[in-house]
């Protein structure tokens, strides 16, 4: 008998429906799987056989031809175990076929019949709902993640025998539901707070501007001055994710397999800090079957690169394109996928290899050629994409003891959220999310300068020798400062602050830009 069971697979971030067709006929016993299966799919034959026998059932006799349609797309991973098992059992009438037509099945089978979790359940379920599917049978550990898709009835499957009972109408299984509003109602709680960083008010102000406008920021300072501490606390002053943003981030984490059964919806802004030995593929994503890299995992969040010049040149250069386009397209022989990568780049570095160059308290030991070589790791085009550059000096002894704590993260977050709100209204007609992502058209339209501000900017361009892109970046930062100030137009002091952040970069890295 012929049975069709629906399942699904992933291509990049989007799912597509796969029909698992099982044809049973008499003859010598055996199974064959066709439809471009990879090794993990072929192995499912043995897993399914053991799982069925260990669920207290006789494995049905005869020969099974299992086709995964569409047959021209490569199928991979263990996600087809469950639909194949259901198909084989249904083809012999052990499972009633009445529920199969509008249900998708996802899951890996363990040899004892238990259903194990798989990755990518959320994007698959979103796609299934679009295709008019009503029900999804998913592994119990993935149920909360799948339940984010409201249109589907989510049946959590714990083991094969329990599922057979449900499909035959014997046992009742309560559809799994998640209250998305509740997940979103609470303010995200962070373990860190910006008030823990002593002093560094200048740096905190720069972080506030960066968070408000989504600007990339570079911190230069000697070791132990608090660069890493500051960066780690940046997500705590950024506004909370909206629901659609959270779903998109969750999708990325779902296909990477980073979601746990408890933490189903990513509600906090991601903070990724890859080690400086990470490869370029690790940063942008890739592999034979492309997976998202760090830039995509930092989507709507922060990508923190500590010890910036220690990263290999390749890694730093591959960042350039995603920084401009907010997405990465990865092409491989098998497929080509596009992952979103709208992140804030936060970089930290020492001013020289020993770290003390320009420090008031300690002397630098580095010869000048060493400093130059160190800085040359950073190319001009890359630094051009950095909007804000600040110095984070070492705190003196008195400061460490007596410095006041300063504002808490939530106080700053309120101001940042207000500035972001102004930006949302400004860009409501377009896809632009923040000032940093403005297109030239919007820069012309939105950056209204007062007369003295214009004069100041002109002389800054003249004296600092800025590139066209740097000029645009200064305007963007100035607009964010104005937003934080609640001002409709860009005033002289806004421009001055923005130019100053640019000036640090020019002075520190004069060797290369």
């Amino acid at each position: 008998m012929f049975v069709k069971v629906k399942s699904a697979a992933l291509s990049g971030l989007t799912g597509y429906i796969v029909d698992v067709e099982v044809d049973a006929h008499k003859g010598l016993p055996g199974q064959s799987i066709v439809g471009l299966p990879d090794a993990a799919v072929k192995e499912s034959r043995d897993r399914v056989k053991a799982a069925v026998s260990n669920s207290g059932l006789d494995f049905p006799p005869g020969y099974f031809t299992i086709n995964l349609a569409p047959a021209d797309i490569r199928k991979e991973g263990p996600v087809y175990d469950l639909p194949i098992a259901v198909g084989i059992l249904a083809s012999h009438g052990i499972i009633r076929a009445s529920l199969l037509s509008d249900t998708i099945f996802l899951g890996e089978l363990s040899l004892d019949g238990a259903v194990r979790p798989v990755s990518g359940v959320l994007p698959i379920c979103l796609e299934a709902a679009k295709n008019g599917i009503k029900r999804a049978v998913v592994p119990k550990d993935n149920a909360s993640e799948a339940a984010l898709v409201k249109e589907l009835e989510i049946i959590p499957a714990e083991d094969l025998s329990g599922l057979i009972g449900f499909l035959n109408g014997g046992t009742k299984v309560k559809p799994h539901t998640v209250d998305i509003e509740e997940l979103f109602s609470k303010e995200p709680e962070y373990e860190l707070d910006l008030s823990e960083v002593k002093g560094q008010f200048h740096a905190k102000r720069a972080l506030e501007i960066a968070a408000a406008g989504g600007h990339n920021i570079l911190m230069i300072g000697p070791p132990g001055s608090g660069k890493t501490m500051l960066a780690r606390r940046l997500p705590t002053i950024m506004p909370p994710l909206s629901l659609s943003e959270a779903l998109e981030v969750t999708k990325l984490y779902s296909i990477t397999g980073f979601l746990s059964s408890k933490n189903t919806l990513v509600t906090k802004r991601p903070f990724r800090s890859p080690h400086h030995t990470t490869s370029d593929i690790g940063i942008v994503g890739g592999g034979r079957v492309p997976r998202p890299g760090e830039v995509s995992l930092a989507h709507f969040g922060v990508l923190f690169l500590d010890e910036f010049p220690e990263f290999s040149r390749d890694v730093l250069e591959v960042l350039r394109q995603p920084l401009e386009e907010n997405e990465v397209s990865i092409c491989r022989a098998l497929t080509s996928v596009t992952f979103p990568a709208e992140f804030m780049l936060v970089a930290a570095m020492n001013p020289c290899p020993c770290g003390n160059y320009g420090d008031r308290l300690r002397e630098c030991q580095c010869p000048s050629w060493k400093i130059q070589r160190y800085l040359q790791k950073l190319s001009g085009p890359l630094l051009d994409r950095i909007d804000i550059c600040i110095e984070v000096p070492r705190l003196g002894k008195e400061d460490l003891v007596s410095c006041p704590a300063g504002e808490t993260s939530s106080q700053i977050r309120q101001r940042v959220s207000k500035a972001r709100q102004r930006q949302r209204e400004r860009f409501s007609a377009s896809k632009i999310s923040s000032n940093a992502k403005m297109t030239p058209k919007y820069i012309k339209k939105c950056c209204l300068l007062e007369k003295p501000a214009e004069e100041l900017l002109k002389s800054a361009v003249l004296h600092l020798g800025m590139s066209g892109r740097a000029y645009d970046r200064v305007l963007k930062v100035a607009l964010t400062v104005a937003d934080l100030d609640g001002s409709q137009v860009i005033r002289e002091n806004h421009i001055a602050e923005a130019v100053q952040y640019r000036n640090v970069l020019i002075q520190k890295c004069s060797a290369i830009i």
């Binding site: 008499k26 010598l28 016993p29 034959r45 494995f59 006799p61």
Partner: protein, 122 residues
């Protein structure tokens, strides 16, 4: 193969036939040969056509007889089975490959064990 070991094999297959007949199966054929292999017993068990491989040990065996059937042996049995189906023009029947192991335990008592569905194609 020496005459002696052939005799041991023959004796084992006789015992296996008696055993499966006692289970209510019908023995259809014995020692069916194709160009590449041999099937010890072909029997009918209800709706199933069963190809039985008999493993006769003159000593207590360690491990299951399924393990004693290597890939090459499997291949030859499967070849013989499909030749059998072809020659007898059988297509509409569920088939099964079983293994019967016969061995003497340490006290010299003869034991017969049947492994249903011991292996399959591919």
């Amino acid at each position: 193969m020496s005459i002696q070991s052939k005799l041991i094999g023959k004796e084992g297959e006789d015992a296996a036939c008696r055993y499966i007949e006692s289970l209510g199966w019908k023995v259809l054929d014995r020692n069916f040969c194709s160009s590449q292999g041999e099937i010890d017993i072909v029997a009918e068990d209800g709706q199933f056509l069963v190809f039985v491989e008999v493993k006769n040990y003159s000593f207590a065996s360690f491990g299951t007889p399924v393990g004693a059937i290597r890939a090459a042996k499997k291949k030859s049995i499967i070849h013989a089975a499909s030749t059998y189906l072809h020659k007898k023009n059988i297509s509409d029947v569920y088939c099964r490959f079983d293994v019967i192991s016969i061995y003497r335990d340490f006290e010299g008592k003869k034991n017969i064990e049947l492994y249903k569905n011991a292996f399959q194609m591919n």
